[in-house]
Amino acid sequence: MSVNPRLYPLLATIGIFIAAYIVCWLQFPYMLSTRVAGNLLTDNAYLGIVAVGMTLVILSGGIDLSVGSVIAFSGVFIAVVLRETGLHPLIVFAMLLSITTAFGAAMGGIIHGLAMPPFIVTLAGMFLARGASYMLTIDSVPISDPFYEALKDAYWLMPGKGRLTFIGILMLLSVAVGALIAHRTRFGASVFAIGGGEHTARLMGVRVGPVTVGIYAFSGFMAGLSGIVFSIYTGSGYPLATVGAELTAIAAVVIGGTLLTGGAGYMVGTLFGVLTMGLIQTYIVFDGSLSSWWAKIVIGVLLLLFILLQRGLLRVTALRA
């Protein structure tokens, strides 16, 4: 029986996650409780959701640097609108998601229309979204809404008293929906085709323009959703929040086994990438004596390992072909 070489990075990601969890468990037996697992999901919910959007973008061979700023904008927008008006949070959510989706679509349109690298277009988007949130407020605005409190306290008690929170469930759902879109729809197939080579995709009959717009609109939507989750998690909106989240999300996607050149990867891998990074943080908290900078170094080493693994795989498959 032979395994598809494309699955190797995914298997490696899951393997490293399980191995890391076992190491943690041997040292701190309490790690294997549903409480820790539940918190792992809750604490990384916003990152997981935004990484789903980023995975699709990276699968298409692009990059979206604006998401961290969009998350901050979302929190500030929700907090300010809730404070100034008496609208129901659900209506505000709908407004926000349409704004961020339109924002993403506009960036996609510019990338395709001007034929410019996504890197610089989304960099401008990053400045714009961050600047827009500064213009709304420069203070941290607390959100005090009964509906919000209800969302924050909504959880399902797992056996072992672990709490699977609403936002944790939302993240798992996003990954599932993302996986469906990427691997089971015509749109997803077009994304993979563009990631494999834009020119080839065009010759195959993929409508590159609309698909590019769709990809960045999806990423904008996910960033908005992630902003909602982040505002539920922190209970406030702050324009300086989640600076650099886009790079953490990219790192999670790469650790999740998605090829950064585009065209190969799995949505589920991203979930494990996010969880692996969360696990490193949890381990440092459990240990207590390690300094937080070790997390950065370990994440860097993991990044390097996965990229080297991918290069090696590419070489192996090229030799076989």
């Binding site: 990059i63 510019i110 229309g113 001007l114 034929a115 410019m116 690298p117 890197f119 610089i120 277009v121 960099l123 401008a124 988007g125 990053m126 400045f127 714009l128 961050r130 600047g131 827009a132 500064y134 213009m135 420069i138 600076v243 790079l247 953490t248 990219i250 790192a251 790469v254 950064l260 050149t261 300094s291 900078w293 070790w294 997390a295 950065k296 170094i297 994440i299 860097g300 080493v301 990044l303 390097l304 990229i307 080297l308 290069r311």
Partner: protein
Amino acid sequence: MKRALRRVLPQIVTLAILMALTSVFFPQFLAVDYQGGRLSGPVVDVLKRGAPVALLAVGMTLVIATRGIDLSVGTVMAITGAAGAWAIASGWGVGPALLLALATGLVCGLWNGCLVAIIGIQPIVATLILMTSGRGIAQLITEGRILTFNDPAFSWLGSGSLAAVPVPIFIWVLTAIAFAALMRRTALGLLVEAIGINRSASALAGINAKVLLIAVYMASGLCAALAGIIATADIRGADANNAGLWLELDAILAVVIGGNSLLGGRFSIAASVLGAMIIQTIDTGILLSGFPSEYNLVIKAGLVLTVLVVQSPNMARHWFLLRRRAQRLREPAPVEGSAPR
């Protein structure tokens, strides 16, 4: 000479417009004072505060000319600053401390260059590794504290002045001139551009692309080290968390405003440095004009979009079509049937 001037004309015009706009809101903007043996004034301040981004932009221009990108420069600033401050604090003296900082920058560049040129990783990803882990390394050196030192000779590099001009200005101007001369007075610049346009073709033409790529990333590391030294000397301490934070984005922005294509190829160091000054003029100008600094990022975003529209290969085609259509309207239409189709 004339061609070189024409190349940087858009940047100079932009800079002049920005300075004029700032002067409208803050009339003393162009005033320069001579006090206590040194020049002071908003313009001098712009030149001095723009030093780190200008230095980073010099290295970044070369990297981008090879169709690469260096996301790690801000972090390298933190690492080299930490290394320099550590050396000073442990009593190495100024000379060895500077050498250590510069060598650290070169080693960081060597690491990036090897990942890109030898292993063949995409530049964004290769430099992302150092970007994420580098701050951890810098914090490892400073042990998480802000490493302060008291050494007049070292802090002179950041806040001193030479012949009434602040030292950082000397450092970035000289660095820019040195690199521009190295690139344009020799064939190096041409070779770098060749790699950016088509790496495999340039390798086939006999250019040692690997070595040159590594050298370019090392140059970027060296520039980042200089910027790190200035930043560290300025505050007399190494702040591993905040030194050079997000400056890589400003540096990339400076290069883009300088009209250099992110797709590699032709480059101009002078234009990039002017781009850095444009960014700094916006920063300082908004503060002086009394606008809330919140507008800063939005203006930057608008500027980038404008540059993108002007630079876009698609727009060039649109312009061409528009001009042709206008020409056709002016000229009498060709007689039907006689025009070869």
